[in-house]
C-alpha cells in the first residue's frame, strides 16, 4: 500500500513492496545488493534497511498483467528527489480484489473511496462580478 499512500490514499503501511522484473529463483541477486548496502535479510523476499524500514520484493503480482505491461502503464511520480513508477490505484485495486485476503478488504474500501473522490468534478471557478 506504499504506492497507494504516495498517490493519496490515506493509509499507513509498515513495509514497502517493490516489484522486481526477475524470476523469483534469482532473489539472491536482489538480496546481495541490499546486503551490500547494510540491510538485514529477514526472508527470501524481505529486508530491513539500515533505517529500520522494511522492504518486500515481489517477483509477481497476482490479478493483473505481467511486469512489462504494467511498467509501461505505471504512474510516474516524484518522490524523495527521484522519479519512480508506481502501479496506478486502479491496478492496485484490481490486484487486491483478486487476492482478497482479510487485510485487503479494508484497503479495497479505501482505494475505491479515493478513486471515487479523485473523479469528483472540480467546482466551477467563481468569477468576480464587474
Amino acid at each position: 500500500m506504499g504506492a497507494a499512500a504516495l498517490q493519496g490514499v490515506p493509509v499507513v503501511t509498515l513495509d514497502t513492496d517493490i516489484w522486481v522484473n526477475l524470476n523469483s529463483r534469482q532473489y539472491m541477486r536482489v538480496m546481495n545488493l541490499c546486503l551490500q548496502d547494510g540491510a538485514t535479510m529477514l526472508s527470501k523476499t524481505v529486508v530491513e534497511l539500515k533505517d529500520g524500514h522494511l522492504v518486500n520484493f515481489l517477483y509477481e503480482v497476482h490479478g493483473i498483467n505481467g511486469f512489462a505491461y504494467e511498467y509501461g502503464r505505471a504512474e510516474k511520480i516524484k518522490w524523495l528527489g527521484l522519479e519512480i513508477r508506481v502501479l496506478p490505484l486502479r491496478r492496485i485495486l484490481k490486484s487486491k480484489q483478486f487476492i482478497l485476503r482479510d487485510k485487503d478488504l479494508a484497503h479495497i474500501h479505501l482505494l475505491e473511496k479515493t478513486l471515487g473522490l479523485q473523479n469528483q468534478k472540480k467546482p466551477a471557478n467563481k468569477r468576480k462580478k464587474r
Binding site: 499507513v12 509498515l14 529500520g52 522494511l54 518522490w79 479515493t114 473522490l117 469528483q120 468534478k121
Partner: protein, 66 residues
Amino acid sequence: MSHMDKKVAQWMERIKDYPGLEEDEQYMFARSLAATPDQRWEWMQKTLHSLDLHTRSSRRKYGFKS
C-alpha cells in the same frame, strides 16, 4: 492561509457532496489528496514514529511479527 491550506479547502469543496463520507473523513481524504507524494510519505513516517511502530524492534513490543 498557506498554499497547502488552500489546496485542502479546494478538495473539501470538491468532495463535500460525496455520498457516505463523514466530516472527519472528508478532511482526512482532502488533506491526503491535496498533498504531494513527499508530504504523504513524511506524514506516514511521522504517524509510525508517533505510534512507536517505526522499527521492527519497536513493533515487536506490540505483538507485530515484522
